[in-house]
Amino acid sequence: MDKKPLPKKLAETAKTLGITEEQIIAFACPDMNRDCAFVKSYLLLTKEMLVIIDGKVNPGNVFVSESLGEVPEETKDVSEHEIRKIPLEDLDALKLSSQIRTGLMYCEGQTTEVLSYFTIARYGEMLQLTAAFTQLKHPQAGGETETERGRRRRRPETKARRPMEGAPEGMDETEKKMRPREHLPVSLRLFSYLKPHRFRLALVFLCYIAVAACNLVWPYLSGTVLYDQIMSRDPAILKTLHIQGNRFILALGLVVLGMAAAKFLIMVISVLQNLLNAVISNHVIMTLRNDVFASMGELELRYFQNAQTGTLMVRVLQDANIVSRLIVDEMPGCIINIFTLVSTVVIMFSLDVKLALASLLLLPLTVFMSAKIRPRLHVLFGKRHRAERGLNTALNDNIAGARVVKVFGKEPEEIQKFENTNQKVQDAEVDITKFSGLFNASYSFVEEMSTLFIWAIGAYLVLRTEYISYGLLLTFIGYVAQMNRPIQDLVRIFRQWVDSMNAAERLFEIIDAQPQITDAPDALDLDHAKGEIELKHVDFGYEPNIPVFEDFSFKVPAGSMLGIVGRSGAGKTTLVNIISRMYEVNKGSIRIDGVDIRDISLRSLRKNIAMVSQETYIFIGTIAENIAYAKPEATREEIIAAAKLASAHDFICKLPDGYDTVIGASGRNLSGGERQRLSIARAVLADPKILILDEATASVDTETERAIQTSLAALSKNRTTLSIAHRLSTLRDADYLIVLEHGKITEQGTHEELMRLNGTYCMLKELQTNALALKGLE
């Protein structure tokens, strides 16, 4: 064992007690007394004795959670504390007892006595101390008690995280490594991912400055140069441009070219800048994802079991999002756009018909680009979406299948697989950025050119004729620029509209689904059912052309137990499904107490039938709520009694939060057997007349099965019970058995009769007995 240094003062105190640092084998710092007051106590273990230094109750004591990794204040003067030395020969064993939120250490030997109390945070170091004691006392055993083992099992995560050496200032190595990173704010941590891109980032900044400069040049050219110099025929401009004579038109042409060049430069720079942005942001996202995934591989399994993995819900939520975005965001925009377009056109035509026509001349080109070329971008988006879906699937697989991945040690392969998928997403993303960068740039180039076209024509008109004034020309240019944005938006909204309608259709499909099984208009309530079940000439199939049952008839007397035996796919579960009217029969009838189940209200039918199946569903809520699911008004005592009957009471009581334990989606996870017993308790409390057990004990161990069997036997008293089981031992209490094969009853009778028949049942029975005998179970 590596020794961690003792707190200084404690070492000094130990010295006053005649104990050197080397003599101390283990120490711990229990932090409570028996009245739950925070104290600073110490336990020292040497080869000869156990020293207990009991801390004093002091109102100034501050309790510091161990995970903060801070050094608790050292006790100034230990001499005041009550000190007890127990020779090791007086101690047979040191044991820990978990008290749910606290713990206590007690000794066995000359006397049994509680020696110290501590909060759950100290459990690790106390465990170290008791283990050291056991090692010392019984070097060959080196074991831990049942409680301690249980305790460790329950907290696998603390084993890795918690320092096991019992040092109060404890941070172990991994924790130390993690801490500085952990404590950086998220935004700063994101910045650290930008580090490899610092040159690209510098370039992006240069681009911004260049674009800003170009944008500054434009108004200068269009304002000062154009109006003040060219249009007011200032000879200085001709001189600057080295133009001979009075050729102002040539000067104009040059300036126009210059302005076009400025815009072209802006376009080129934006493309470059967009590309840089895309590369940087996508690379950062990809690195982040890879990092998250790689560290996920290292996380404990419990983490995955708590993680939510819903797919249908996500789809529905996404669809709903798409629809709501169209309605909330796009529709108002659409209206504003249409209004803007129409009013602009009206005003333009009212001002000047010829110029308006000229302005609209290039409009079809922008519309064409939006409507025809942009959809290609859409295809690329689809490609990215598929790649992202692949990424999600990979992620989902690894979360849901975390156990399998870990069991087979496939983490490196999975990480590689994930990185490949992630690469695809990145490629798709870059494709999109390339195309959309080019498209957006050329689109705005066309936009600008159409404005320039009007501008040029307008200016030509102003110069050549006195047909229009400068002011009017400027107004027109303004209007034309104003028209481009709405057109672009409308085309986009139109495309989104199609998407949204598809999404809405999927949503409505769910909303509009009609229930197939409903109450008959004059449905009866079965108030005091006896529980007799009769199937008469029943035909049924999930698909109309693939029958499961044909002309199927049998009868179960009230209060008896029917065992249903058969191979997988013989129709056992289907049979109970049609009896509880989860599906409607195609022909014939199913009667309970002589009444066709189609004439019984679904509510009262379901109230009289309870099913315990191999698939147990636990709702989000407390255990008590889950048991009382079918009878929310149940009293505490009824709930306890039901749990007791289902052999669930004991395990529930031992949960820290008892019946108040929150289970379900993000709550605590129960084992298969525990869930099974909860669902039996649920059925017990529902108190049905007909009880269906569909492989109710399939997912539990033999030990638990026995307990559950006993519960079920008690439960099936005075009830009609249909029990399906693979394990024939489960059915030994059945009054009557039927053997199903391909939807037909091939054998029926009591256990003895069927054994005498020497058919399928007998064969299955013998097979299983032999198999169990081989395992030494029967």
């Binding site: 959670s65 995970s67 008290q99 939120r101 049994t112 909060t119 049942e146 008892g658």
Partner: protein
Amino acid sequence: MAPMGGPPPAGGRNNMPMRGPGPVNTQEEIDLARLAERCDEMMQIRYLEPADCAFSEKDSGFIQLKIDEKVYTHVDIYRVFPYTNPAEYLSVRDAEDAFREIGIIRQLSAFPEETISLIERHLKLRYFTPEIKEILFVKRRAGVVTMKVRTEYGECRFAFRNNSNAVIRLGENRVFIQDMDENRYQIPDVTKLTIREQKKLDALL
């Protein structure tokens, strides 16, 4: 801690005696009788009446229970509904026999004064959950929340990861916070905190 109590009966072959047990030999008969007894016990709930039982604290620090002339030298007491009914339905278990349930105390208040204080003290230790009286500060950094609070036991400082598992809401206003060491702290009624404290807390809920 084996929840099912007791070792499996050895060599029990036909151990479901509830309906029509077949012919059995002597060894199995004994097993069956024991199992039947166990099963009956498992299905029964015994509610402990104050008149029948005597709880006392031994020098060892454990609770002793004397009931029907039988003495259990070390019993543990569990709350069946720790939050919703802390003082009712207490499961009394024999720590020396795999924590088998001896019985349930329906209502602690029906017992004598000294029993109440003894059991309450033990429950306080077992379900140690300091009550947060005052929030002194809350700091959030990279998903880790550090809190300093004043409780009835004194000042506490602790840290927890801000996810759904650390902060548990029970009912409308009751909040439990579980720190990284699995210590729990509770706020019985959030609305009783000052507005400033509530604002500090709001960020976490």
